[in-house]
């Protein structure tokens, strides 16, 4: 099993908190910390393209910078689109041409390196898609079938990551979506915390769709959304009523995700691919990205590796 670390990072600077993209030095320190605790690679956001071109000259130059610090490569990129029902919304057919063109451009920009997946949130914010109907989900599925063909043509799998606040997040919505997408073109990326928050058991869900899964975000939460935060305007992720901090690193105390059961399911289903760790917004409530990244990797090495060995020997 190889582990990759997903992009999120804040560190202190004389000018306040910065992310790793601020300077070459801050990127150097980020990558060394990730490598030091045993991650093998990183994932990133493809909107970083502009900073990459500005600071490194090309995507492949940036990947070389990553490799020089002891990491294998960039495994996945997350396509964090800014959805808007007027211009860019998977359930609005009139916007599909824009979206398809965006993916043609994106795949061209990243063609200098070999990626496993391009990850998308497959629906708009929940409130922008309400009422969420089966027809809207089917329209959404049609779009992603077309996008999947574009990305696959570029050698990259399209995979869907369902934030708890997006328009396809309940079990019914998920089932309708996957029933209407082509398994050859549209894959699933299981974020353990997001499904848990949305009251979808991540282990059961993974088991049901294991043959469509092309990656994971191993991430924990201490809360489920029981009050409808998922449809909160203008924001559910940072402004929720339930908690100011939805996400915690794997291995922290009080988490709701059963990672041991999840890892057993991953091994049982013969998954072969990268495992990604994510803990976005780990710095909320006094948290610290560097420490969380180390704690999550400690848990993977000292707890999950044992699970893998046990399950693999059965």
């Amino acid at each position: 099993m190889k582990w990759s670390y997903m992009d999120h990072w804040r560190s202190a600077s004389p000018n306040g908190p910065i992310d790793q993209w601020q300077t070459l030095d801050s990127m150097d320190r980020f990558l060394k910390q990730v490598a030091a605790v045993g991650y093998d690679a990183i994932d990133t956001f493809d909107h970083r393209y502009f900073q990459i071109m500005d600071q490194y000259g090309s995507v492949s130059n940036y990947q070389e910078f990553v490799q020089e610090r002891g990491l294998e490569r960039i495994v996945n990129t997350f396509h964090a689109a800014v959805y808007d029902p007027r211009t860019y919304a998977p359930h609005v057919p009139e916007t599909h041409a824009n979206i398809l063109e965006d993916f043609r451009v994106t795949m061209d920009r990243w063609s200098g390196i070999s990626l496993d997946n391009i990850i998308v949130m497959p629906a708009t914010l929940y409130y922008d898609m309400e009422p969420v109907t089966d027809d809207k989900i089917k329209t959404t599925a049609e779009l992603w079938n077309k996008v999947g063909a574009i990305t696959l043509d570029a050698g990259v799998k399209l995979t869907c990551h369902h934030e708890f606040f997006c328009g396809i997040q309940s079990k019914h919505e998920l089932d309708v979506f996957y029933a209407n997408t082509d398994p050859a073109l549209v894959n699933l990326f299981v974020d353990t915390a997001q499904h848990c928050i949305a009251t979808v058991d991540p282990v059961d869900f993974y088991e049901q769709y294991a043959d469509r899964v092309t990656g994971f975000h191993f991430k924990d939460t201490r809360h489920q959304d029981l009050v409808g935060d998922y449809r909160r305007r203008p924001d559910a992720e940072l402004m929720a009523t339930t908690t100011p901090k939805w996400f915690h690193e794997m291995g922290d105390e009080g988490g709701l995700v059963d990672f041991e059961a999840f890892m057993r399911a991953v091994v049982r289903n013969g998954y072969e691919g990268w495992l990604s760790v994510e803990h976005d917004k780990a710095n909320k409530l006094g948290g610290d990205h560097a420490e969380s990244t180390a704690i999550a990797r400690w848990y993977a090495k000292n707890v999950l590796d044992r699970i893998v060995a046990e399950e693999g020997s059965k």
Binding site: S11, A12, R29, K32, Q33, A35, A36, V37, G38, R69, G70, G251, E253, D288, A290, E291, A294, I295, R297, W298, K301, N302
Partner: protein, 323 residues
């Protein structure tokens, strides 16, 4: 063989920090996953120092061995060493600060050193690292008589803890009263070569204007412990003689001021050549712990992780090449 540990002192910047079990567990896990196998403790006193002395370990972990289990649960092999400054008193036994330059304090120093060494043996540790005397502003002149008194104190301690399987390592720092008039070399000459070793703290040596590699080459058989850290500046204005230099110079940065005296290994504009230090240790077949330290770090997890990267990607290959 060189074993690598990490000093826990950076996680406790002030008296009311780093008291909860969760903090300890996370710090130990960060050390472990960053590639180190041991942890070095620092002495302390009172209920907000759960890792400060054997009594507090027992109060918080059931027993000293209970703490050893806690360390192993974090995937570390053991406690490598314990840093003891006799000029700190202990509330646990109402003992006053004990100055090794004062013959009347020797019994207290020996008793406390033995207390820590016994616990260290239970923890699997091998080195008691001690501050040999006061700061220079406290004892501006150490004549040969005073050096002899200090040497006698540590000779006694060395003999007392040797049967426990624990080595004594005298730790020189850049504020030390041993800094003027070649005090360090005079103390080396005055102490027992068999039972009294020294700790080479690379950052402290360089901040004091000394060359740690030259010291290792000169006294290879007296090196009982190494604290490896980078230095950002040299105290070339003799600010160590300033009253309360611990506050004004070490933490406050002195008149310049120096923002950080100590940096992570391999980081510019560091002055310590860590690769040369390790090459010297390897050349002299040093067998013991190298404790990487980043005291006064503004960001302990990051310091441990960056030092872990440097260990794994630079220093370990030097050791492996020599095998």
């Amino acid at each position: 063989m060189i074993e690598w540990s990490y000093a826990i002192n950076q996680w406790k910047p002030s008296f009311d920090d780093f008291t909860r079990r969760r903090d300890h567990e996370r710090a130990l896990r960060v050390i472990s996953i960053s590639g180190f196998t041991g942890v070095e403790l620092t002495t302390g006193t009172g209920r907000w120092e759960p890792l400060g002395n054997p009594e507090q370990l027992a109060a918080n972990f059931g027993s000293v061995r209970g703490f050893a289990d806690f360390v192993r649960d974090a995937a570390l092999d053991r406690v490598s060493s314990w840093f003891y400054d006799p000029l700190l008193g202990f509330r646990e036994d109402l003992s006053a600060p004990a100055d090794p330059a004062d013959p009347d304090a020797h019994a207290s120093v020996r008793a406390h050193a033995t207390w820590f060494a016994s616990a260290l043996a239970d923890l699997g540790g091998q080195v008691l690292v001690v501050r040999p005397t006061a700061s220079a502003w406290q004892r501006p002149q150490l004549d040969d008589g005073a050096i002899g008194t200090i040497a006698k104190c540590w000779n006694d301690v060395g003999r007392a803890i040797a049967p426990l399987g624990v080595r004594l390592a005298l730790h020189f720092d850049f504020l030390s009263a041993l800094r003027p008039d070649d005090g360090l070399e005079r103390l080396i000459a005055a102490t027992d070569t068999e039972t009294v070793g020294f700790s080479v703290d690379t950052g402290e040596f360089v901040a004091a204007g000394l060359d740690p590699v030259a010291f290792i080459d000169r006294h290879p058989h007296r090196v009982a412990h190494v604290q490896l850290k980078n230095a950002a500046a040299v105290d070339d204005r003799d600010e160590y003689t300033r009253r309360n230099a611990e506050h004004h110079v070490r933490k406050g940065g002195g008149a310049r001021p120096v923002p950080r005296w100590f940096l992570e290994l391999g980081v510019a504009p560091g002055l310590v050549d860590a690769e040369a230090v390790v090459r010297a240790l390897v050349a002299h077949e040093y067998d013991g712990w190298v404790t990487v330290e980043s005291d006064l770090s503004p960001h302990p997890p990051t310091s441990a992780m960056l030092n872990g990267w440097y260990l794994q990607h630079v220093l370990q290959s030097i050791v492996e090449e020599a095998r």
